[in-house]
Symmetry: C2
Subunit: 217 residues, 2 copies
């Protein structure tokens, strides 16, 4: 296993490759490599039994590939917790360093780091940290976009694109914060949130897809 293969498998997973066929096009866009390189990498991973390949359609992860993806994500997210909690990174800064460190971490290192961090369950974006064996703890949260006017909720997880995190930082939206959804405009209009302390925040319709919340009874 090499860093490139690991990142490739992780990309397939993040594009839904556990359940759906992921197209070469998507991987070209995500990894910023040529279409030819994607075809090549597919061939390699197929030979190693990490993916199933449907010619001219795309790829799906095998059980083996899925385990590798989740173990890499475990490393990535544990490093993110370290960077955020111990080194004072903001949540929009952690991604690129964790993306390198994840490939330079022995299993022993990760386990010791995990203990040092107090065996966290979530990364700084609310992403759940997979178990050592590659399995994933069950989580129970709803996309904000599916909420109806009037409900109360708590922020549980957000998309980890750097620009989106900067946007949330600007909007003062962070994990654990509680709001009431006071308004949601039709025709893909904006959402108005009101925090427990009374400030109102307006966020765009598309942002509401990238925020997962837990409803408060």
């Amino acid at each position: 296993m090499t860093p490139n293969k690991e990142d490739f498998i992780k990309a397939i997973f993040e594009l839904g490759g556990q359940t759906q066929v992921v197209t070469n096009k998507d991987l070209v866009r995500t990894l910023s490599i040529s279409a030819a390189s994607v075809t090549e990498m597919n061939t390699r991973l197929l030979k190693e039994g990490l993916i199933t390949h449907l010619p001219y359609q795309g790829v799906i992860l095998t059980e083996k590939g899925l385990t590798i993806a989740n173990q890499l994500i475990r490393k990535h997210r544990i490093w993110e917790v370290f960077l955020a909690e111990k080194l004072g990174y903001d949540w929009n800064e952690v991604h690129s360093d964790a993306d390198l460190l994840e490939h330079a971490s022995s299993d022993l290192l990760i386990e010791r780091l995990n203990i040092f961090l107090g065996e966290p369950t979530f990364d700084p974006h609310g992403g759940v940290i997979p178990n050592k064996d590659g399995s994933i703890p069950e989580i129970h949260s709803t996309p904000l976009i599916e909420c109806t006017k009037g409900v109360q909720f708590k922020i549980k997880e957000v998309d980890d694109q750097e620009e989106f995190l900067e946007y949330l930082l600007y909007k003062k939206v962070h994990l654990g914060k509680e709001y009431t959804l006071v308004d949601i405009e039709p025709y893909d209009g904006p959402l108005t949130l009101k925090s427990t302390s009374g400030e109102e925040t307006i966020i765009g319709h598309k942002a509401a897809f990238k925020i997962l919340v837990e409803l408060i009874d």
Copy 2:
């Protein structure tokens, strides 16, 4: 710069390449690669102006190469401090993980980690941590082998080969510990040390080359 090049330059430095010519043979032994691969890497580094090459003799680091070596050693040693102090590694365990992490560390990460660790001066083996700009703080210690019978000293630095560190762990020799050199046998014989608490430790002649001490007046 790639991990391989970095490690190669570091190896040249550790073999004395700042001042002496380092032979291909030495690099073959240190890096466990073929002689042909050493010649090849020499050609590459020469082209980049990181080394001076004397055909059929060996290589010396240029200023540029030296800076890269010291900056890599800085990263390596800062990681070693982290592994030992925060994750509970013994001093014989830190090397291999630090050897990977050093290549996956942005400058920003290292500076933040350095601050988190309290800007340490030495690594767990007493090796001095180079400055950010690649310069090296002056240090003042003597090889134990050069000490004479009767002197008192404090352990300042030890060779960082894994087996040697295990040996020292077994002999209960650690950084900062103070001893009196009660006996040193002629004909490359053993040395007898007596700690302040009274225990006597006998160590081999060759081990005394790998231990640096500071004399206590």
